[in-house]
Subunit: 223 residues, 2 copies
């Protein structure tokens, strides 16, 4: 069984790849950059994680159009990334329009071309409010699009095993699978030392605190 | 009202753009190349059509990953494009895995970033058998993904006005709107003189014959 695994290099997708491997899948890691601020750091993490998993090097796809479209602080560097404190629950400026549908479309094309059985994506419950393309309904609707829009001889299953978990629960799964969190990157803002103040750092640090572990990466501030 | 219009430069998408303009939309033309054999000719057609429509120049996006994934004679030049006679009804080798979902995902991101109201795609009934991502059920399922996966203040409507028409019916619509078919390109195979033998040329020539018109472009052979 072969599975395309969307491996951004963040803590959720790292856990996901170990989870999929543990389920018995041969992993086809797929890393997609889209002009986000921290793309070079995320790519290094994805490459290192793939090597540690004993998988092939990630297939790397660079999309330039999200930067051209703008409308997100992750891709338009003229817009400042909101800190967690500033970030509204709805419409955070880190939202990249319809990003996950783009990632899943690419993953499905790759999976169908390679004769794969499944696609893994690491969306999780904490993302729901700000990011509509992380919700279980969205994943279910995309599965219907895959079923109708491909002509693979076998069905392609869209797997989002963490879609109902929070980040602390994902960490618990990950520690049981010995995920090397020192090789992951979550910060939206910077790629040398994590800022500690963006929403992504906030939720990551909160999750490590909730499970009583120390995050192995270094922060500029830890609130 | 603003509409993103997927403008490949073929006869269906050219008709579509004129149709959308006639409905009163301001057209945002979007042209996506994906390493297919005839991409430079298609791009020139799209640019010329946008100019004739009085629209902005097309936003042009070049995807390199379909060529990397392969599995289609349009993007892997080592696979010969089947002629119409050779082409099986199911699994023609010109199928590009899940291509239209990728195009629609990009179009939706663009539409959401620009605050657009609608997305037009020129899929049509003749494509159903070989291309699952052209069927009305696929379009309906993708509309659900758009509704769930975007956070635009207004809904984004996915418009596929030709999804139930054959190419002759589309031509009739086009002639009523004075679409300049001499500025369109359909051949899968070559970009100087249309081959006249691939499926795309076959169905185009058949449609012109059905409406009693002469196709204004030049062919190597016309069967």
């Amino acid at each position: 069984m072969k599975a395309v695994c969307l491996l951004s290099g963040g803590m959720d997708s790292a856990t996901l790849a170990y989870y999929a491997k543990n389920m018995g899948y041969d992993i086809l890691p797929l890393h997609i950059t889209y002009g986000q601020r921290t793309e070079s750091r995320e790519l290094r993490c994805a490459q290192r994680l793939a090597a540690l998993l004993g998988a092939d090097s990630p297939v790397v796809i660079s999309l330039d159009y999200f930067k051209a479209f703008g409308a997100s602080s992750l891709t338009d560097y003229a817009i400042e990334v909101e800190t967690f404190e500033e970030s509204p629950k709805e419409r955070p400026n880190t939202y990249v329009p319809f990003r996950n549908a783009n990632l899943l479309a690419i993953a499905t094309s790759f999976c169908e071309a390679r004769g794969g059985d499944a696609i893994f994506i690491g969306v999780q419950a904490g993302d729901y409010i700000g990011y509509p393309d992380c919700r279980p309904e969205f994943i279910g609707a995309f599965q219907a699009v895959i079923d109708l829009g491909t002509m693979s001889e076998k069905p392609i299953e869209l797997m989002a095993p963490f879609v109902g978990m929070n980040k602390a629960e994902i960490l618990k799964v990950g520690y049981s699978l010995s995920v090397p969190y020192e090789e992951t990157w979550s910060c939206y803002q910077s790629d040398d030392l994590a800022c500690g103040t963006c929403s992504s750092c906030h939720y990551r640090l909160e999750a490590f605190r909730a499970v009583g572990k120390t995050d192995p990466i270094s922060y500029r501030r830890t609130q």
